[in-house]
Amino acid sequence: MTSISRADVAHLARLARLAIPEDQLDHYAEQLDVILQSVARVGEVAAADVPAMSHPVPLLNVFRDDVARPGLDREAAFAAAPAIEDDRFRVPRILDEE
């Protein structure tokens, strides 16, 4: 029922922030297609009036008192950072040039 094209994989990879090389797109397309065909079986179940289940236990909001607690100190938080500048995480530019 599904047929995943090379262009579909490129699109999914872009959405998922994966720089998949051009020469691997066909291979992934083939594999994703097989996986999607096998999981599409869920569509065989008549479940129009069945409620969807997101979670195995009923999740209720939990309240607690707002008490100050120590967090990670700066040194520990930065210890694993790929790049730091002026006591901040340095990141690549987030806006386009123009």
Partner: protein
């Protein structure tokens, strides 16, 4: 006594009595790791100094007359998906290579509080996606029963550490069978507790509505003692159940199934199950009957759709959870040359840092959640999840526990299925329904398949917060099998 072959409860008693020190036990395991782990590759990282220091603290406490817990001084292997302060934690992925967590997971805090000695971090499929550990970025773990075969996955490192006598206790995590299937193929015991029973604070998330931390050991009692040490509410995990933990240790000591109603799940045996697996399973069913259990057949008609539903729900959740690995605050960063945008750097980082199975699942999840496909895939899978849960609810109105083979086959050869995702997914066919419903389940060894001489596991399933039933039934079956064999099956594992 034998410091590396004895069970955890035996070692703990000897340490408490002063017959042996925790340091001696710990050093014996570190020596064993040094001798065999080059071939087994159960560990990604061994913390010898930390383990010996922890052992010395236990010995000092004992020397000072402090009362020790039931597993105090016993070494443990920790799956590398749990944060441990000051120790590398990779989740089997290159994207976290070299990351040193600045905090302990809740489970690690509890292990430390119980004076359990953590030897190191065990190998796993990358971010727990897999059934063989072949998807680890650091190379596969080898099954101690046959080094050419897989030890199961994703927690193959923890199970192999137990089966190779590198540790008497281990921690695993189970999202679709990652504790139980490795236990089955290595002749060890593993339990997926009720969803929410063990706090997940500090666990690197795969699929948050399915993930659960659990105990692994070489017999049912040790597994129960470890279960008791790690279970219980933690307010830092919003899915943690705030209720009393069932008395699993008492249940493991009460090895009696007389009058227990045991349901044999019709949909989880027969076609697709290896002949030797089915044979050992049928024998185990006969033993349970001899022991006084009332075994009946039960049908769970929607289980045949569990695999399909799971492989939509899991990728959907993981595509969201793994978005946090963006190379900005910790972990790998690739291509940040000053000219590229943040999105380009993220994409290059994730391409370089994730392996093929992780990328496949992220893309499947992205697809299943995209508008136009959401209702047909993710939405429909969630409805099927409801139907599977209803099947369980109806079954547990009739029986106390359900049973099945844990895995459809014994351990397969390394390399056999690694590039065939759908064949790999079939390993989880019997374990997945439990995760979808949030139930608890155990795998325990029931013999070697006649055709290949490899371990077979039996799965016991119970309703949420019915974890004690697993231990009662498991202990009874284990005792009957030990009676037949004269020892635990694991004692027949190759010496290496």
């Amino acid at each position: 006594m034998n410091l590396i072959r004895d069970n955890a409860s035996v070692l703990a008693a000897a340490i408490a009595e002063g017959e042996v020190s925790s340091e001696e036990v710990t050093r014996a395991h570190l020596d064993r790791i040094a001798a065999v782990d080059e071939r087994v590759h159960a560990f990604l990282h061994v913390d010898a100094d930390g383990a010996i220091a922890a052992a010395k603290r236990v010995d000092a406490k004992r020397g000072a007359g402090e009362k020790l817990g039931p597993l105090a001084g016993v070494p443990l292997a920790l799956k590398d998906v749990l944060a441990m302060k000051g120790q590398p934690t990779t989740a089997g992925s290159k994207i976290l290579e070299g990351w040193i967590p600045p905090y302990d997971a809740a489970v690690v805090e509890r292990l430390r509080a119980a004076d359990i000695v953590i030897l190191g971090k065990t190998n796993m499929d990358e971010f727990a996606m897999g059934s063989s550990t072949e998807h680890s970025a650091y190379g596969p773990t080898h099954n101690p029963w046959d080094l050419d075969r897989i030890p199961g996955g994703s927690g193959g490192g923890s199970a192999a550490a137990l089966a190779a006598f590198e540790a008497p206790l281990a921690i695993g995590t189970d999202t679709g069978g990652s504790i139980r299937q490795p236990a089955a193929v290595t002749a060890t015991v593993g339990v997926k507790p009720t969803y929410g029973a063990v706090p997940r604070y500090g666990l690197i998330a795969l699929a948050s509505s399915l993930d659960q931390v659990g105990p692994c050991a070489r017999n049912v009692l040790d597994t129960a003692l470890l279960h008791a040490a790690i279970a219980g509410h933690d307010p830092r995990d919003s899915t943690s159940i705030n209720a009393a933990v069932p008395d699993v240790v008492a249940a493991a000591l009460n090895a009696d199934v007389r009058g227990m109603k045991v349901g044999l799940v019709r949909e989880l045996s027969g076609a697709g199950y290896q002949a030797g697996v089915q044979q050992r399973f049928d024998e185990a069913v006969a033993i349970l009957t001899e022991l006084g259990a009332d075994v009946v057949e039960v049908s769970c008609p929607h289980f045949e759709y569990a695999l399909a539903a799971y492989y939509l729900i899991l990728p959907s959740e993981c595509s969201s959870n793994l978005a946090r690995f963006d190379g900005m605050r910790y972990g790998l960063r690739v291509g940040d040359d000053g000219s590229r945008s943040v999105e380009e750097v993220m994409a290059l980082t994730r391409e370089a840092g994730f392996g093929p199975e992780v990328k496949r699942r992220i893309m499947i999840g992205t697809y299943a959640l995209s508008s136009g496909y959401y209702d047909a895939y993710y939405g429909q899978a969630q409805k099927v999840r409801t139907l599977i849960t209803r099947d369980f609810t109806e079954a547990f109105e009739k029986v106390d526990v359900l049973i099945s083979p844990t895995a459809p086959t014994t351990a397969f050869k390394i390399g056999e299925k690694v590039d065939d995702p759908v064949a790999m997914y079939l390993n989880d066919i019997a374990t997945i329904p439990v995760n979808l419903a949030g139930n608890c389940a155990m795998s325990l060894p029931i013999g070697l398949a006649p055709e290949d001489g490899l371990p077979v596991g039996l799965q016991i399933m119970a309703p949420p917060m019915g974890d004690d039933r697993l231990y009662r039934a498991g202990a009874a079956l284990e005792a009957a099998l030990v009676d037949r064999w004269g020892h635990l099956l694991i004692k027949e594992a190759p010496a290496l």
